[in-house]
Assembly symmetry: C2
Homo-oligomer: 156 residues x 2
Amino acid sequence: MKVPPEVVESRLERFMGVAAQAGLKLTHQRLVIYKELARTGEHPDAETLFRRVRKKVPTISRDTVYRTLWGLQELGLVETLGHPGRQVRFDANLDKHHHFVCTRCGKVEDVYAPEFDRLSPPGRVKKLGRVERIAVELRGVCADCAGKERVGRKGR
Amino acid sequence: MKVPPEVVESRLERFMGVAAQAGLKLTHQRLVIYKELARTGEHPDAETLFRRVRKKVPTISRDTVYRTLWGLQELGLVETLGHPGRQVRFDANLDKHHHFVCTRCGKVEDVYAPEFDRLSPPGRVKKLGRVERIAVELRGVCADCAGKERVGRKGR
DNA sequence: GGCTTGAATCGGAATAATTCCTAACTAAGA
DNA sequence: TCTTAGTTAGGAATTATTCCGATTCAAGCC
């Protein structure tokens, strides 16, 4: 779950580069938010990040967190994911990868699978639009939730 | 976009069967909601269905629509989908298929691709949990949105 | 180091989507 | 027909997210 320091470092460098390129001001808030996201592999949602970041910058506002995250995704520095109807989750991992999503608790785990990376859109979709990314989602019930299966039901 | 009558018919039959099996009462509301979903291929969200259904049952409440839809998905009669951060969309099409999702407007189109159906989870995910379905999502910009590309921006 | 200025932030209000609550209703079985 | 457990209506509540106006601040310039 914890991202190795050298990976965090390289993500940060990319962030600095892309941000400068885009003419963004390097505010304390932006840096703290990006760092917090870059150092975790848990695909947190905005509220979770807000709570974590607030420990370091107690006056930060939710709006700033949301605005920054969507801004980062527009720059291609983070990806959004999540199960429909649940909160958006954010991911600073730009390596080719896919996800296992628990349909009960919403947890997301990275899945690396070259055979998924190799997929290409069937010819017919060309007329629907331009495909930018192929995301494979393995949906199911995570080990934790499977354990609780017949207890507290009523999931979502 | 319109589902052929004989397909609607067979969906309805399955609905009746599964509902009876599950011991659900066959209420007018449930039937109307399911029919409305079964007859369209547009993957509508709950609000859209609510508006359509209200034309036939003017006193129906949003809650009933939501409750019914999630109930149907629990029974495996509908699938939920959509892009994170947008509304949940519902789909009564249970044939093996995948989706093209427009990241600008949220529109979803069905994609049939046997090569996607054949995928199987990489061995490693076994320890993460039980995979129930593999969903391939082609994300990009639909033809409509591509047209408007440099006009009204700001879409999210 | 001090100015200037447009971008960025704060924080609370507003909105959108969804769920909760409970009194009233109704399908289905006896 | 009677009973009753499941279901619904409708408005309130909750949750996630965005908006907005006043204030602050990063960064280029002197």
